[in-house]
């Protein structure tokens, strides 16, 4: 695992995340979110979870990001207007970050390096998904169907 690559990707991702949280234009923030997800996918690749990284890119860049930009398109009134910034939220976020970092750094059992591990193949994931996790898989399928129908009904024009 390459430290240099990790640092580059992490800095890139976090910068994009900060941009997504603070950019004034909503569209730019949404596109920054895409960059964040590409960065996270890269981190997944770095960690050896290629399949999850590809799935993340596939779902977030291909679907969720387009949904977000479409929503921005469909709610045009507030786009581009600055609504101010709630500094209280920033304080809370910084406090949470501080608390988390403090506890992570103070937990000695976390200061481990990665063990050697055989590569996780797609086949392996598929087998696990179809054996141990077959019920969760079905439930997720049901959930996605329900979400699809629910989203459709929510945005459907009301008949008069």
């Amino acid at each position: 695992m390459n430290s240099a690559a990790l640092i580059i990707i992490a800095v890139f991702t976090l910068a994009a995340a900060l941009a997504a949280a603070t950019l004034r234009k909503l569209m730019h923030a949404a596109l920054s979110l895409v960059v964040v997800f590409v960065g996270i996918a890269a981190l997944f690749f770095l960690l050896g979870a290629e399949f999850v990284g590809l799935a993340l890119v596939f779902i977030y860049v291909g679907a969720v990001a387009v949904l977000v930009v479409f929503t921005i398109l469909l709610t045009p009134r507030d786009v581009g207007k600055d609504r101010g910034f709630n500094w209280g939220g920033a304080i809370v976020a910084v406090a949470v970050f501080g608390g988390l970092t403090w506890s992570i750094l103070n937990t000695q059992s976390l200061a481990v390096v990665a063990p050697h591990m055989p590569a996780l193949t797609v086949k392996q994931i598929g087998k696990t998904l179809m054996t141990i996790y077959v019920w969760p898989l079905q439930c997720v399928g049901l959930l996605l169907t329900a979400a699809l129908i629910g989203a459709l009904i929510l945005v459907m024009e009301e008949k008069r």
Partner: protein, 104 residues
């Protein structure tokens, strides 16, 4: 120097906090969703990291949970964005400060 688990966790914590920042500080409803997506991604990063740094030759539970979480997050995003559109249609605003009909 090879990275330890702590570095990944701190990256994840930073991402989580940034997501929290987006969700807490911005007024537009879509920012809240963006923040939530970032927080979920941070959680996924944690899962993957813990799997990678955990004992080898185990079922890849962390990976599985990350996959399911991605799927569920996609559903959440779809419903959430649909709600944003529905709310916009009804109140003609996406500013969450104005959506306070449930005020006590």
């Amino acid at each position: 120097m090879t990275p330890t688990l702590q570095i990944f966790l701190i990256v994840s914590a930073a991402l989580f906090s940034t997501g929290l920042l987006a969700a807490l500080s911005r007024r537009h409803a879509i920012f809240i969703l963006i923040g939530i997506e970032m927080m979920l991604a941070a959680a996924n990063l944690n899962f993957i990291a813990f799997w990678r740094f955990g004992p080898p030759h185990q079922p890849p539970t962390g990976v599985m949970i990350a996959l399911f979480s991605i799927a569920i997050a996609a559903a959440e995003a779809a419903v959430g964005l649909a709600m944003v559109i529905a709310v916009y249609r009804h109140y003609h605003t996406t500013n969450v400060d104005q959506l306070d009909q449930l005020r006590g």
